[in-house]
């Protein structure tokens, strides 16, 4: 848990929250006595614990590893959270000298907690295998790996060994895909392209 007094603004927010909590308990006491206060206290405590565990995600920095490989070699990381269209493969081949295809098993938290993410892992592997096979058919130097459940973490792991001078993302449609691409752009100081189609 972070120190609530890390800044003047944070200290003021903490003061306001404490005053609000006191007001809630006072109102509960006035309304119904000890039992009501107890219920209010339990609810407030639950809210505090939930808030503390959820955390407040601060703004992280965009980072990039040192270039890996010969100076003029361009390496491309492809994150395949959706199947990559065959029409895009020539463009990916031409964009780099070496390509690493990464996919994160998109299992929900409950599935992961129950260790029931085999289907998600198989789907991720299928996406990787299909994309790598398609690239190799076009004479691209391509390889693939199924990474961490978190796509951003999967990219970080891949950047550690493969490097990567640019990232191409085949993201889910809609808001989920837009959020994923935004997270990647904010996290990595590398050119990030979203693959459509």
């Amino acid at each position: 848990m972070r120190n609530p007094f890390r800044s003047e603004a944070a200290a003021f927010r903490f003061l306001l929250l404490a005053a609000a909590a006191l007001a809630v308990l006072t109102a509960a006491a006035a309304a119904g006595g000890a039992d009501t206060v107890a219920v209010a206290a339990v609810l407030l405590s639950t809210a505090v614990v939930f808030y503390a565990l959820r955390g407040r995600h601060g703004r992280e920095l965009a980072m990039a590893p040192a270039h890996v490989g010969p100076p003029n070699e361009r390496r491309l990381l492809v994150l395949a959270q959706e199947p990559v269209s065959d029409e895009l493969l020539p463009e990916l081949r031409d964009a780099a000298d070496r390509v690493l295809v990464v996919s994160a098993p998109s299992a929900g938290r409950l599935e992961r907690w129950a260790s029931d993410d085999d289907d998600a892992r198989e789907r991720a592997r299928a996406r990787v295998n299909a994309t790598v096979a398609g690239l190799r058919a076009l004479d691209a130097d391509a390889s693939g790996v199924v990474g961490d459940h978190d796509p951003v973490q999967a990219l970080e792991d891949a950047l550690r060994t493969f490097g990567g001078d640019a990232i191409a993302v085949s993201a889910p449609p809609g808001r989920a895909g837009a959020r994923l691409v935004t997270r990647i752009r904010e996290r990595y100081a590398l050119p990030v392209t979203r693959l459509d189609g």
Partner: protein, 146 residues
Amino acid sequence: MRARQPRLSPQPWPWPGPRVLIEHADAEATADVVAALRGGGFAVAVCRGPEHDSRCPLAVEDGCAAAEGADVVVSWLGLTTAAARESLAALRRRLPATPLLVVANAGEAAWWPKLVENAVVLEGRPSPEQVVSSVRSLREEAREGA
């Protein structure tokens, strides 16, 4: 009501060094410099500096994992605003041994001699090659002095 901006919470470096932290208000403007530093063998982090009413974590008690893990810091926030000067002063105070490259407008550094003491100063708009060269020199000096 203005949307609340998330506070700065720099993460630790996930990759080995040598590492360069660039502080620049416009992250997109650093793309060429980032590419040049990466090509020179440096891992790079880009910090846009404190925004709106937030403060640099070095200036408050949070600390900054990215600055603490950097081999060289390139301060490109300028010296014009109080927030930028506070960030630089906090960096000097908390990490006095970290080599520092300051990029400032022409003539600006002369107004703040204490802030740029023992730092390398580049004025105007240095090229990516100039930045890489300066970073390399700073790092070499630091290693020789160690």
